[in-house]
């Protein structure tokens, strides 16, 4: 498991500085872009059913909106920090820019553990968050979406509160809504499928066919499930999947040398993406320690769980056969570990293009909601694929031209586009 002492904001700033150096950005541009434009920190008092008032800490950070309205998730997490939110909002800015969607970057959250809150309390918390932020969010300013431990129901409560406060229907004010109430078809699959679109292009680059490759995946939540599903459809074989075991409070890796079939795996998985250890043994899986997924003799590694999972303490255990790491999660590799990975000659598809399917689809939902006209799934995935593939090709071309890795190239494109927008607006 990765290094927990990392300050994510500093890491994001260091990555930005590197891109700024490569671009030769002027000092004032750097100063503008290496910190958020706006930050909101507030408290949300919530009265529980028994009359007690609990106070929660809430955030919203709008890093930059030069390219368009801000877009970013809202997380409910007990260990949430403002620096984490700042880092993720910055990442969103570059992510939107590099995949060429007209949105800025934001991120928000509430310090809480929703598992300990009743449904009613969760609803009040959502509505409370919106009451605090309602003047500073909206379909043309800042559009929230779900993130860790928030879901379509939370989004719908938030939208409902926003619409009550603003007196109208504004379906484009929040994305990630249930499909029945203005959500976009394909949103559930988008992030995972997007990772595979990128992976497919990377394999083409390395002149490999999916059917000739083997992969190991960390995580079996929504993203990982859709990654595995589509990768398998393309002909690839997943031999190892790791996921959290709530009962044992530890993660396990499940390995089956002749391949883990997606449908079989799903049939022994609960709603939280937790694979049943005993049933896994029954279908012929070996149950291995949590980091075993990283050590497998495979062509592709897909970390699709949490941040900083590949760090200096485990990076050396990556097998020499690995050719591609496709980041399904945000920042699953630390900077130091990535330096080692680069030396190993492994192609890393960086998170902010690799997992950008989610935000692109959120953008599609915003567009559909604003026009109150909804697209068929074929159309959503067609557009998603084209957008992501184009982004991958652009990033690769720049990486080759400048002799840099894909992450730096993606950063360069993202930062350059935002800097240009700031200049054209006359901000700098």
């Amino acid at each position: 498991m990765g290094n927990e002492k990392i300050n994510p904001y500093k890491m994001a700033q260091a990555q930005f500085d590197k891109a700024a150096d490569l671009l030769g950005l002027e000092p004032n541009v750097r100063e503008l872009l290496r910190q958020p434009l706006r930050e909101y920190q507030f408290v949300i008092p919530i009265r529980s059913v028994d009359g007690d008032v609990k106070v929660f800490k809430g955030f919203r950070v709008q890093h930059n909106d030069a390219l368009g309205p801000c877009k970013g998730g809202i997380r409910f997490h007990p260990l949430e920090t403002i620096d984490q939110i700042r880092a993720l909002s910055m990442l969103m800015t570059w992510k939107c820019a590099v995949v060429d969607i007209p949105l800025g970057g934001a991120m928000g959250g509430v310090v809480c553990d929703p598992h300990t809150l009743s449904t009613k309390m969760q609803e009040r918390l959502c509505r409370g968050w919106v009451r605090q932020m309602s003047k500073n969010i909206g379909p043309f300013t800042d559009i929230p979406e779900p993130d860790i431990m928030t879901n379509p129901q939370h989004m719908l409560w938030m939208l409902d509160e926003y619409e009550v406060l603003h007196g109208g229907r504004y379906p484009g004010a929040v994305t990630g809504k249930p499909v029945t109430v203005g959500g976009a078809l394909g949103r559930t699959e988008a992030t995972g499928f997007g990772v595979v679109y990128m992976l497919r292009e990377a394999l083409k680059k390395l002149k490999l066919k999916p059917k000739d490759t083997v992969a190991s995946v960390q995580g079996f939540g929504n993203v990982a499930q859709h990654v595995i599903r589509l990768y398998e459809q393309l002909g690839g074989k997943v031999i190892c999947v790791s996921c959290w075991n709530h009962h044992d409070r530890v993660a396990y890796s499940f390995r089956k040398e002749d391949g883990l079939e997606f449908k079989t795996l799903l049939s022994i998985t609960d709603d939280f993406g937790e694979i049943d250890k005993d049933k896994a043994r029954d279908i012929g899986c070996e149950v291995l320690p949590e980091d075993a997924w990283l050590e497998q003799e495979v062509d592709i590694l897909i970390p699709a769980a949490l941040e900083y999972q590949i760090a200096m303490n485990n990076v050396e255990s990556i097998n020499g056969r690995v050719k591609i790491i496709a980041e399904g999660a945000n920042t699953p590799i630390t900077d130091e570990a990535e330096a080692v990975i680069n030396r190993m000659g492994i192609l890393v598809i960086p998170d902010f293009i690799s997992n950008s399917g989610g935000v692109i689809c959120s953008y599609f939902e915003q567009v559909q909601s604003n026009s109150n006209h909804y697209w068929a799934k074929d159309e959503v995935f067609g557009k998603l694929d084209v957008k992501m593939t184009a982004a991958f090709i652009n990033v690769c071309e720049l990486a080759e031209k400048r002799g840099i890795n894909l992450r730096d190239a993606a950063h360069l494109i993202g930062v350059a586009r935002v800097a240009q927008a700031c200049r054209e607006r006359g901000w700098i």
Binding site: E189, F193, V196, Y197, R200, K211, L230, Q233, L234, G235, W375, A376, K377, D378, E379, F381, G382, K383, L384, D385, V386, M388, T389
Partner: protein, 584 residues
């Protein structure tokens, strides 16, 4: 019998690249399965066409295969599996229900991006064509069973174009399970689940003329002519030409048929005035104008049948038509004088202003050499009339023909006498049959062209029953079997007569039309080894109606009678002489 089957897997083509339209490649594939019969045929001909008919500026007629993108059969498999469509597709549901279910289903997520990229790069009309595993294979004659859809692809918004494209792909997929196709499988004793569909996406050959898009002419040429007339020989082949899209020919509409050895000879008819009536009066084109009523399960959603007058306004008739002069009952080549225009293609065929006939002959010869058997080819031609006249010929399809060469003798004396139920000197097919104990015939006394649709329906129901029982039968009716125009014959589709083994196409004083010579179901008749016998009431052929009337009837509908015989008929058809006889 010459045997040939063409079927390639996707490995023969480069994988689809989103910059395909910026490259010089003419073919690419999405998916990893098979290409299907139609696409395989084109790939087989790709190099031969490129080598033999170089498209350089010195050629009066440049020949090429329009660019094609193939969705391989594995895409179809994924579509069927991911949407759980097999239950519906193999059920007894009506064609429309199946087509709707397919429209509701989603294409595999890993190919929609390629289709979106494709549609972003192309703005001209596209043909979405079936290319199934069994289609065009010699013993599995599915030619023309599955659907093709043409789309204008001219909406400025690429999302709209994408939607229409994927609707068309799903439409072609659904046609795999249409009633028509099911009857074929039943007739062959095969399971529909064996079939897999690849799809070809190809630019339509043609030019925009106002709000229509069409080629100057389309054609089907066969290197073996089952029914040669006059001096023509079977081995010399036969060509059908039509103004506009090839749908006129495929649907068995009025077209110009000629022998490539005698391109100046008109079909044999009574008079010029009669010839005028038997030539094309309307043509098919892609509708590039006002969007039609939304109907993604209709083949002709984006097509228009336009009158010849429209082509005259577009100035496309000049090199294709003749003009009828009623005062002296003759045709004048071209459209110089006023008068009814007649689609004879005389400026090209008789005056040879471009060497189209020579090119067709060369293409047939080349195709035969490459395929290794007699062939049928389809093509479309656009003319460039500014300056020196030149033409572009798009080679659209090649399929091997099943030609039976067993020697059957039908003597003159066999064609007369009490034992003869029917005899004719105009028969198609070749062989002897002794297994027919059922006769389904349209009763001449009650026949009316106005009721030909009802007659088609009644025949279809009897066919269904006989097919279910596995009984082959003799079918007798009036006018052109399979005619799209109900006033020219009985407008059956193949599935309504698929169980027949011998078909008689007859005339009556009240249905005195030029017979179809089996052209509507041509390839299928021959491949199923069905004999097709033409009997004109004016002679010299005959049908013994009195004997038929006296046979005990199994079923009588409003217009059709089904009789069962105690002993089987003997049917003999001599393919070389065209003589056919049915003995009681």
């Amino acid at each position: 019998m010459t045997e040939k089957r063409i079927l390639y897997s996707s490995e023969i083509l480069p994988e689809f690249d989103r910059k395909f339209f910026e490259s010089d490649d003419i073919a690419t594939v999405i998916g990893t399965g098979y290409l299907g019969g139609k696409a395989s045929g084109l790939i087989l001909m790709k190099e031969a066409v490129a080598d033999s008919f170089k498209s350089d500026s010195k050629q009066v007629i440049s020949v090429n295969i329009p660019r094609l993108i193939v969705l391989a059969t594995d895409v179809f498999d994924a579509f069927m599996d991911q949407n759980n469509l097999y239950d519906m597709a193999l059920s007894e549901a009506a064609d429309d229900q199946i087509a709707h279910a397919f429209q509701e289903a989603k294409l595999p997520v890993d190919i929609v991006g390629d289709l979106m990229a494709l549609i972003s790069a192309v703005h001209s009309p596209l043909a979405i064509r079936s290319s199934s595993l069994l289609e065009d294979a010699i013993y599995e004659p599915f030619a023309g069973v599955y659907e093709t859809k043409m789309i204008p692809n001219n909406q400025p918004d690429k999302d709209s174009r994408f939607r229409v494209l994927i609707e068309a792909v799903k439409f072609v997929y659904a046609s795999t399970f249409a009633q028509n196709a099911r009857q074929y499988f039943k007739a062959l004793g095969r399971s529909l689940a064996e079939e897999k569909m690849a799809v070809i996406i190809q630019e339509v050959i043609g030019r925009p003329f106002g709000d229509l898009f069409y080629p100057h002419l389309s054609g089907v040429a066969r290197s073996y002519n089952y029914y040669p007339t006059g001096r023509a020989k079977q081995e010399e082949g036969v060509v059908d030409l039509a103004l506009g899209l090839g749908k006129t020919i495929v649907d068995g509409g009025l077209v110009w048929t000629y022998s490539p050895t005698y391109p100046r000879l008109a079909p044999v008819v009574g008079s010029t005035a009669e010839l005028v009536k038997k030539t094309q009066t309307e043509f098919w084109a892609v509708n590039m104008g006002k969007p039609p009523e939304y109907d993604p399960i209709r083949e002709t959603e984006y097509l228009i049948a336009a009158p010849l007058k429209r082509a005259e306004e577009d100035k496309t008739l000049g090199l294709l038509a003749s003009t009828y002069r009623p005062q002296d009952d003759r045709l004048v080549t071209g459209t110089g004088p006023d008068g009814p225009r007649v689609m004879t293609f005389a400026p090209i065929l008789a005056d040879n202003i471009i060497p189209l006939n020579e090119t067709i002959k060369a293409l047939l010869k080349k195709s035969e050499a490459v395929v290794g058997s007699e062939v049928e080819i389809e093509f479309a031609v656009t003319l460039n009339t500014t300056g020196e006249i030149t033409a572009n010929l798009g080679f659209l399809q090649v399929r091997p023909m099943a030609v039976s060469k067993a020697e059957i003798m039908v003597l003159d004396e066999e064609m007369q006498g009490d034992k003869v139920l029917a005899a004719s000197r105009k028969s198609l097919g070749n062989g002897v049959f002794n297994n027919i104990e059922d006769i389904v015939y349209v009763v001449p006394e009650t026949f009316e062209a106005a009721h030909s649709r009802t007659i088609a329906h009644e025949i279809g129901l009897i066919n269904q029953e006989l097919t279910a029982e596995g009984r082959k039968y003799l079918l007798i009716g009036f006018g052109r079997w399979g005619s799209a125009d109900p006033w020219l014959g009985i407008p059956v589709v193949w599935s309504q007569i698929s169980g027949s083994s011998v078909i008689i196409e007859a005339t009556l004083p009240k249905m005195n039309v030029e017979l179809s010579q089996g052209s509507h179901f041509f390839h299928n008749l021959i491949s199923f080894k069905i004999c097709y016998i033409m009997v004109e009431h004016t002679g010299p052929g005959l049908i013994d109606w009195t004997w038929l009337e006296s046979r005990p009837e199994k079923l009588r509908t409003q217009f059709v009678r089904h009789v069962c015989l105690e002993k089987p008929l003997t049917v003999k058809v001599d393919g070389r002489t065209g003589r056919g006889v049915i003995l009681k």
